[in-house]
Subunit: 333 residues, 2 copies
């Protein structure tokens, strides 16, 4: 066990630095463009241009899974820092502004030249479901050299997103970050992000779980099934629960389950009047949960915070909280 220094940050995240381009659309357009309804698909720039051409008028809002979670955590009063790769362009400036304006330290230098800052073309159908198409752009070139290791060592929790495990350079960077954080005695939180990521990198993830590298694992129901090969939710939970100190499994409108050090807790979803846009639901659930966990709150309360945060974000467009979250938690907890 290393000699653990007091943490300067509650959470440090490494993730995609992207701007969401969010448009409402009819169901038919999803079919017409052959999109992966409800999922996240990696696309190249040519496909991004093609889809943008066909997209209804949109709004641009900073996104990125781990970045969204961090925004949620900062809104809830936690000290946060972000590591991610933007290009030196207007969308990169937008992303950086939105992070810093949320109170998050974000100093990874912008990358010169092409490609541009990543963007996610999000088609939101009338049921509120989001279909994401991600051009990673500059984000796929986050180099291990860009990591501020002193910074990483200074955060109580290092939060990583599976989405960024896909491109090679950021994957290497995250592996290095995990070493640095563990050497400093920090906790590793990991969100599996998407089943397709597990399809491609499940062996890595399972090895990390088996080796005890992951302290807090966030999955949704589908991801748990892909990760474990178990279609039955309870069987999936049983397979992973003993291997990670904290397992959080979300099930959309069916609520969520957490198993931590043998203790199990469940929470129902917090109902919303109308689901506008589900983008960021998982990210904000993670933010709510971690905001309680980082402060040592009981497991049920952590889950409740997650459900409240998720209910706020799906009631409006965009993946980050718009409400006064501290007040909302006070009212609803």
């Amino acid at each position: 066990m290393p000699d653990i220094q007091p943490a300067r940050y509650d959470v440090i995240a490494i993730g995609n630095a992207v701007v969401d381009v969010i448009a409402s659309c009819e169901e038919e357009l999803i079919d017409e463009l052959q999109l992966n309804r409800g999922g996240m698909t990696l696309i190249d720039e040519a496909r991004a241009d093609e889809l943008y051409e066909a997209m209804p008028p949109a709004r641009e809002i900073s996104g990125g899974s781990a970045a969204n979670t961090l925004a949620g955590l900062a809104t809830l009063g936690l000290q946060c820092a972000f590591i991610g790769q933007v290009a030196d362009d207007q969308l990169g400036k937008v992303f950086r502004h939105d992070m810093r304006a949320t109170g998050i330290d974000f100093d990874t230098p912008a990358r010169e030249g092409d490609p541009a800052t990543g963007r996610v073309l999000i088609f939101v159908t009338p049921d509120g479901e989001r279909t994401m198409n991600t051009f990673l752009g500059a984000g796929q070139y986050l180099p291990a050299a860009a990591l501020d290791e002193e910074l990483i060592a200074s955060g109580a929790i290092l939060y990583l997103e599976g989405y960024l495990w896909d491109p090679e350079e950021p994957r290497r960077a995250m592996r290095r970050a995990i070493e640095v954080a563990r050497d400093a005695g920090r906790k590793i939180a990991f969100t599996a992000s998407e089943s397709f990521v597990i399809d491609r990198h499940g062996d890595d993830f399972r090895a990390m779980i088996d080796d005890g590298v992951i302290d807090i694992l966030f999955v949704n129901e589908t991801e748990l099934a892909t990760l474990t090969g178990e279609d039955d939710f309870e069987a999936g939970l049983a397979q992973v629960a003993g291997k990670v100190p904290v397992l959080v499994a979300t099930r959309s409108e069916k609520g969520a389950v957490a198993i931590a050090h043998g203790e199990r807790a469940e929470v129902a979803a917090v109902p919303v009047i109308k689901v506008i846009d589900t983008t960021g639901a998982g990210d904000q659930f993670a933010a709510g949960f971690l905001s309680g966990y980082a402060r040592g709150e009981p497991l049920t309360r952590c889950l409740k915070r997650g459900a409240i945060a998720a209910s706020e974000v799906i009631a409006h467009y965009g993946p980050r909280p718009e409400a006064d979250m501290v007040k909302l938690m006070e009212e609803r907890l």
Copy 2:
């Protein structure tokens, strides 16, 4: 009277090509940054950077007064084309995309080099009031040479915004466009935009009104007072009504008045559950009104359309309609 050709477009607009950067903020920030609460202030790039630095996290949505009106008109099924100047950058592409995706023809070539595409930093206070700070960027260099005169001659109505009267090049371009449109026997619609514009260019506007150049004039209560020097609303109306065939004067929550060819009509504001962001209220009122007027509907019905369109846009962030406006009109008219 020239030989009038059938119009290919219902409305052609010349206006600012800008992207709105919209953030919610507390009242105190307005004072702290010494903003002109509820108004629109022209700012240079240095001030834009300074204000952006101090701005909470934001969403980017295409804006521009005349462009917003056109978006409203297109949503209501009218054939529209836009003329305006963006730079060859990411925000310029966003603006062009959003116009075209709304069904508006927009072919003014992007301008190379600095400055960037214009942006409006909008601070929205908890009462929904918007405080706009506009860096015109490339927009201020719209040259008369960029006008497609054949296009202008092919629109039944040429719609112009006062905001763009301020920079010299676009003012010259709009004067030329007015000549072209009038020679083709088209109608000129003009929105005064803001009292500060009238402070600076009121003589131009009054001369155009006196000379019978303006067929349809949109003003709000404050602008009417600045334009006429009459603090009394009715006295202001009386001074202008005889000089323009159609006068539309909006009064926010007090509704609106139109006087056309001696006939007077009034409408109450359409109540909304909660005012989120008043940005675009005047623009969408104009869109609603013109959508009826262009189809020869009775004056009261045109006003009602304006009030409905305004009520939709102030119930969400951003200056352009998000609802199915054709359906909304059917339900509420």
